[in-house]
């Protein structure tokens, strides 16, 4: 069997005296929707930060198609085809929605510098194509009508959508979604489930998702891993994870 798309081996990080993550082994296969569950402070976002190169690991390694990527800069990792959203939303506030997505298209927007500088026919056509692509992505996320709005002026839910549009613009193979349903009402959460499945099929994506809403995760993910206090306490299908005693103890507390 070929190497999994993404793999972490014995991955860990220590912040001073705090071991935030310890010995995390995960394998994410191509085309999977893989969920990360865990109580607050379990280290889920930290794991995302390690994978995307935002934080440097202090132990173990991250492998992308079998090749080590830990230690690379975030922009190098992004260019390999790993895109992410942020739990606390990091949009480009002075830019409008269309430009936010255009920044996401950075990698595809490359042009010979002379053509870009002189605004040649080629450059104008490319620019037009990019804008159309950005508009398509905004429409896919149902915020096409907000293209000219400043990112700072958007409602919370629309900001989440814009972040996903921007991440999709990266043309990733692996999409890391950090709490995409935060702040959404139950109806919107249902829609989100459909949307995530749709983009997975349409863009041929593998998705690694962090979310607190357990029913959403059980219904959406192919496989789940549960973290608690920086350790992986369970791994497997939604059904197996739901019945895992360690998970029940982490969420409901054990009898002591």
């Amino acid at each position: 069997m070929s190497a999994p798309l993404l793999e972490t081996r014995n991955l860990g990080v220590r912040f001073g005296g705090l071991q935030a993550l310890e010995a995390i082994d995960l394998q994410v296969n191509q085309g999977e929707i893989f969920g990360l569950l865990g109580p607050n402070g379990a280290g889920k976002t930290t794991l995302f930060n390690l994978i995307s190169g935002v934080t440097a690991a202090t132990g173990g390694e991250v492998l992308w198609r079998g090749a080590r990527i830990s230690g690379l800069d975030p922009n190098r990792i992004a260019r390999l085809g790993i895109a992410r959203t942020f739990q606390n939303l990091r949009l480009f506030h002075s830019l409008n929605c269309c430009d936010n997505v255009l920044v996401g298209l950075h990698r595809q927007a490359r042009l010979p510098w002379a053509a870009a500088l002189l605004g040649s026919g080629l450059a104008r056509r490319r620019q037009h194509e990019l804008r159309e692509r950005a508009q398509q992505l905004l429409e896919l996320l149902e915020i096409g009508h907000l293209a000219e709005q400043n990112a700072a002026d958007l409602a919370y839910g629309d900001r989440r959508r814009l972040e996903m549009a921007r991440a999709l613009a990266n043309d990733p193979e692996l999409l890391l979604l950090d709490e995409p349903a935060a702040g959404m009402n139950p109806g919107e959460k249902d829609e989100l489930k459909g949307l995530i499945r749709r983009i997975r099929d349409q863009f041929n994506l593998t998705i690694l998702i962090i979310e607190h809403h357990v029913p959403l995760m059980l219904g959406l993910c192919d496989r789940l891993a549960v973290l608690n206090f920086g350790r992986r306490i369970a791994l497997g299908s939604p059904e197996a994870v739901r019945q895992n005693p360690a998970v029940i103890e982490a969420y409901l507390g054990g009898s002591s």
């Binding site: 995307s52 920044v103 037009h128 990266n170």
Partner: protein, 308 residues
Amino acid sequence: MIDASLLTQMLIGALLGLSVYLPLRCGQLSLATPGFYAIGGTLAALLSTRVSALGGSDAAYPLSSVLLEMALAALLCGVLATGIGAVVLRLRGVYLAIATIALVEILRVTTLNQEALGGAVGIFGIPQPFNDPGGYVLFTLMLVAAICWLCDRIERNRLGRAMAAIRDDELAAACQGIDTERTKLVAFVLSAVVAGLVGVISAHFLNSWNARLGNFDASITTLSYVVFGGSRTWAGPVLGGLVLTALPELLRPIGDLRLIVFGLVILVGPLLLPQGLISPQLLQVLRGWLQRWRPGQADPATTQGGKP
């Protein structure tokens, strides 16, 4: 009131404003502009007074020699900025500002103590390429136009978007695959090249050059051009440079009071217009007018997003 000499100074102010603006557009508060300005000025002063081959046979200093000096200054500043930028751009925010102030001071003190670079006295009798001040106005105006065009092109393209993204959120920008180190370095080097070019023109225009022209005061003055004019688009620093260079001269009739008025303008400007004279809101209004005036030719890129 505004004569050719003041007009040249204003245009020089606009160019220095643009030099500060370029790194600032990527969120990098670099105060190194006067340092590279001094390098350009000193280089021009040395070459034009010590290398007789550049002088030519005419009474006026040949324009081709000025252009050669500008090319050399651009090259020298560009190379130096690449080396320095690679190190100092690792610093963020106010630490970058402090490091670049140190750079300016190191250059100033070095020049002050090197007789070969003019020392404390400076270099006098820098030859004039133009017989009348109008020549300087035209020449500087052409350079302003060229740099504005360059900035406008950059802002409309991938590089400009990447710069804006880094200004807003450097980490998120890196996660979009933008090589943030390189983008910041490009802005820093462009800024240095512009400052070096202006230094060459200034040296000829001022007729003499000394180390005091590139000091900490100049760092703050040039920064005020951008703060006053706005750092969203190139028009901001140009306007800021023009107005703030002209203001002290135009206020001359009111005597020493002008310093107070000048200080008030610098103080009140950012209070009333925190984004500068050319603010994003103003740009939006202008864009709206432009589209109403010529709806037929409206840029397809800016209108297509409006459909419901």
